[in-house]
Amino acid sequence: MEFDPALFIGLIARAFSFWWIILPAIVLGLIVGAVPGFSAANTIIILLPLTLALDPETGLVFMVALYASSRMGAGIPAILVNIPGTAGAAATPLDGYPMTQQGRAHQALAISFVSSVAGGLLTTVMALLALPWLSKVANYLHSVEMIVVMLFGISLIASIAARDTLKGLIAGFFGLMVGLIGADVIYATPRGTMGFLELYDRVPLIPALVGLFAVSEAFVIIERQSIVTDAGRAQYDQSGWPETWEGVRIALSKWWHIIWTSIIGLIIGVVPGAGASIASFVAYQQSKTYSKTPQLYGTGHVEGLVAPESANNGVTSGTLIPLLVIGIPGGATAAIMLVVLQYHGVTIGPALFITSPYLAYGPFAAMAVTYFLMIPFIMPLARYMSKVTVVSTNYMAPLIISFTLVGAFVARGYVFDMYLALVFGLIGYVARKTGYHVAAILIGVILGPLLETYFLRAMKMSQGDLMVLFSSKLGNLLWVALFVSIAMPYFIDWKRARQKQEAPAE
C-alpha cells in the first residue's frame, strides 16, 4: 500500500471516465440528502437491483458519488428550515439557520457548499495518500475507549447545543435511555418497549430524526409569518448573485478552518460507528474553543457553519478507510457497500490493494471527482433553493409535517413509525421551547445501541468488573478529557461571575 504518483494520476483519470454514472448519482444524492428520511443508505438499498447489475467498480463509483452528494444535500434543509436531512448535519443549523433568519440564506448555502466540497475533496486526497497510516487509527480504539468516546460525544453536544450544560446532559442521557429500548442483544429480552412489538428491534432512527427536527420545527414555525425574520426579509429582498459569490469568497477566506476541521472529520470517520454526527459536533466545539470570537457562535457565525460542514464531508472519505483496509464498515452506507462488494465476490482486506488497486483506491478517486463535478450543480442551487425561506409558514408547516411523516414510514413500512415520529415531535417541541436541544436527544438515541454493544463487550471481557473502564492508558486520557469538557463550562461561568463581582470595585 505504498504511494505511487503514476497510479494516483491514473486513478483520477479513470474516475473521470465514470462521469456518466457520477452525474445522475450527484443529482439523486442532493435530492435524497435534502429530504429527511431518505438517507443515502436507504436509497442505495432501494437501488440495489441497479448496483448489483453493474460491474463492481461501476457500482462502487455510483454508491460513492451518491453517498458524497447526499452528505452535502443534508446541509440544505438544515440551513434553510432548521431540519437536517440526516443526523450528520445536526450541527449545521446551529449557525446556518440563524444566518437564514437574518436573510443571508444565499450566503449560508454558498459557504456550506464551498466548505463541503473543499473539505470533502481535501480529505479524499489525504485519505488516498495516507491510507496505510489512517487505517491504523481504528486499531487503537477498543471497547473501553469507544465507551468514553461516546460519552465524550454526548457531553460535547450537551455543552455546545443546549444553553445550559445540565439540561444538555439530561437531554443526551434521556436520548441514550430511549436508544436502549428494544430486545437485548444476547437473550432478546424485551426492555422498555411498552408492549410495542415494533420497538423490539430498537427505536428506528428515521422517525426519531423526523420527529425531533422536522415535526417539532413545524409546530414552532407557525408562530412566524416566514422563516426569515422581518429584519432579515429586507436583507433577503436585496440579495442576489453578489451575495452568493460573497459567500464563496468568505468560505474560501476560511481555508485554514476548512482544512483542520475536515481533518477532524476524516480521523473520526475512520473510527467505526463514530460517524458524521459526532464529527460535526467535535469540529464545532473545537472551532469555538480556538476562535477569537466564541461569543458569536450560535448567532449566525461563518466559522460555526464552516466547521460542521467541512467535518461531516471529511467523515465521508474516512468511513471508507476501515471498510477497504480491514473490512469493517465505518457507517451504514459503507456497510451496504460491503454487502454489494461481497455479492460480487470481492474479498476485502489489504490484499485488495495489490490484486485490484483500481477497485481498492478507486472509491477515493471517484469521491474526489464527485466533489469536483458537484461544483457547477450547487451554485445555482444556493441561489434558487433559498427562496423557500420566504414562503409563508402557513403553507410550509403542513408540507413539512406530511412529507416528513411519510418519510418516517418509508424505511420499515410501519404506520407505527409515523406515530413514533409524532411522539418524538412532541418531545422535540418541548425540548425546543425549554432549552433542551433536540440534537442532544437525537445523538443519544443514535449512540444508545452502540454504547450498549461496547459496554457489554467490555463487561464480558472483564467478567463484570467495572474497573475495566479505567484499565487502558488511552481510555484514561479520554476520561480526563471528558471530565474537563464537562467541568469547563461551569468553571468559565464561575470565573465570569467572579469577574462581574470584582468589576464594580475597580
Binding site: F38, I46, L166, K167, L169, I170, A171, F173, F174, L176, M177, V178, L180, I181, D184, V185, I186, Y187, T189, P190, R191, G192, T193, V215, F219, I222, E223, S392, T393, N394, Y395, A397, P398, L399, I401, S402, F403, L405, V406, F409, V410, G413, V415, M418, L422, I427, Y429, V430, A431, K433, T434, G435, Y436, G448, L451, F455, L456, M459, K460, G464
Partner: protein, 175 residues
C-alpha cells in the same frame, strides 16, 4: 458613566419569576421512563441490565441535581410552576392543538386512503386552519399540486414504499 438607579416603584419587589413548569417536563419524563425501564429488566439476565443501569443511574443523578436546583429556586420565590414558553403565544394554543389533532388524523387515515388523497385532504385542512380560511381556492390548488407531485416523484419515479390507497391503485392501473 454611572447612572442613578430609578427610585423603587411600588411592587418592584415582585421580580419577574422564571417559569419552571415546562423545564421540568423532560427531566420528569426521563425519570419516569427510567424507573419504568428498570421495572422491565429486574428479572432479566445481567447482560440485559448492565448498560441500562449504567446510563439510567447517570440520568437519575442528573435529574435529581436539576430538581434540587429547581426546588431551591421555587423556595426562594425566584421561580414558579407555570408552563412558560410551551404554551406561548397564547393566541396560537388552540390552532396548535387543532393542527396536532389533524396530524393524528392524517396518520390514522393514511393507511386506508393512501398517500396522495390523505396528503391532499390534510394539507387543505391544515393550510385552511393556519390561513384562517383565506385564499381557499389557492390552498386547494396548492394541496392538489403538491400531493400529485409527491406521488409522481416518490411513488411513480422512485418507486418508494409509500402508503397506498385508491388513488395509487387507480394510477397503477392507468399508467
Amino acid at each position: 458613566m454611572t447612572q442613578d438607579k430609578p427610585a423603587a416603584q411600588p411592587g418592584a419587589e415582585h421580580r419577574k419569576k422564571r417559569h419552571l413548569g415546562g423545564d421540568l417536563i423532560i427531566p420528569v419524563a426521563g425519570l419516569v421512563f427510567t424507573v419504568y425501564y428498570f421495572s422491565t429488566i429486574l428479572d432479566s439476565p445481567w447482560t440485559a441490565q448492565v448498560s441500562a443501569f449504567f446510563v439510567g443511574t447517570i440520568l437519575i443523578v442528573l435529574t435529581v441535581i436539576f430538581l434540587t436546583k429547581a426546588a431551591i429556586e421555587l423556595r426562594r420565590g425566584d421561580a414558579d410552576l407555570h408552563a412558560g414558553a410551551i404554551a406561548e403565544p397564547a393566541n396560537l394554543a388552540g390552532t396548535r392543538l387543532i393542527l396536532l389533532a389533524l396530524t393524528i388524523g392524517y396518520i390514522f387515515v393514511i393507511q386506508f386512503t393512501g398517500f396522495t388523497l390523505t396528503t391532499f385532504i390534510f394539507m387543505t385542512a391544515a393550510m385552511g386552519l393556519l390561513t384562517r380560511g383565506k385564499r381557499m381556492g389557492f390552498v386547494v390548488m396548492l394541496s392538489a399540486l403538491v400531493s400529485v407531485a409527491g406521488w409522481a416523484l416518490f411513488i411513480y419515479a422512485f418507486k418508494t414504499r409509500f402508503p397506498v390507497g385508491p388513488f395509487e391503485r387507480l394510477m397503477d392501473f392507468l399508467v
